[in-house]
Symmetry: C2
């Protein structure tokens, strides 16, 4: 039996990603913000969408610089990722406060977090006004990963240890990725064979 | 030391959601497809974006019916979710093949998977052409959840048991959500106090 729970909060809906978005402001000061509203939205060109409200410092930075990065924090940086989502770059230097290092992308006009294991470098492809949020679609120019999370040149999720975000009881929480349930594009073939289609 | 890995496959980037998208075709036949390209993109109005390539049966269905649902499979339905992502609704009736039940939304012109614990009912809000994919932004009209995953009217992620999708070694896999790492909007306050801002 299903029950209606309305639409607040929508963060109940599924495990959201934890994206730390890096930008430069008009003076070249690096900033980061943490968000969960985003996801891949195209393969050719490879694009990722993030949603940012107009009030955010990051909004102005992306509008001006036409670029951003996404740094994926590993679970040992949960505290830093959370702090980056709590405070505004208008008031504080989040890199200084956390001790994290801004690294300049060599491909797009934005900084990333050098300590985080997985980086997407994005050129602004399109902006879409939705309502309280603007969606910035970024074309992914490259992905950079720490060598120590690679095995045979492939990043392993067990080594990257990304966080996921979800509502839990009375608050929101960061979760780790759990164990493997099944192989994709494979386990479903049993049904295909049985049903003959 | 970071290493460039290019942009293929982009599914390396972070744990993607597993969305089973429900639509009706022009004859009213219910269809479902599984995708990982999507995410929340606005809070007011509450919106979720999914990216679908033009070749897909779902593309035509959403363009015609202006509505879709997202059914979140729990981990015990990994096989069904995978099958739904492998085959096309042009050829087969995926509900019949899996034995899953199409339930008609009372709010939007689309069916959802009755056996899955978490449902988003979406009215098409905007379509955004990107490249090989079209992004459909849906306004979430309601979320419906199985009563047995609720505690004090809140869905618990430990009971919903959603899947996440990621690349792993030579293939892609479904993972379960792991244990809680930290409380959000809380653990970062230690840095805020220490840094005074």
């Amino acid at each position: 039996m299903k029950k209606s729970i309305g639409t607040k909060p929508i963060e109940y809906a599924y495990p959201l990603p934890v994206f730390v978005v890096g930008t430069y402001d008009s003076e070249g000061k690096p900033n980061v913000m943490t968000l969960g509203y985003g996801g891949i939205c195209c393969s050719a060109p490879p694009c990722v969408a993030i949603a940012v409200s107009k009030a955010r410092y990051t909004y102005r930075n992306i509008a001006e610089r036409k670029a951003f990065t996404i740094s994926i924090p590993s679970e040992k940086y949960a505290k830093e990722a959370d702090y980056i989502g709590i405070v505004s770059g208008k008031r504080v230097d989040k890199f200084a406060a956390t001790g994290l290092t801004p690294a300049k992308s060599d491909l797009v006009d934005a900084p990333y977090v050098d300590e985080f294991p997985f980086i997407l470098e994005c050129q602004l492809f399109r902006s879409v006004e939705i309502g309280s949020y603007t969606q910035f679609i970024g074309e992914i120019k490259d992905m950079k990963v720490d060598e120590d999370v690679l095995t045979n040149d492939r990043p392993l999720i067990e080594k990257v240890k990304p966080l996921i975000f979800s509502m839990d009881r009375n608050t929101a929480s960061y979760y780790r990725v759990g164990t493997n349930v099944a192989i994709a594009f494979s386990v479903g073939k049993e049904i295909e064979k049985k049903s003959g289609g």
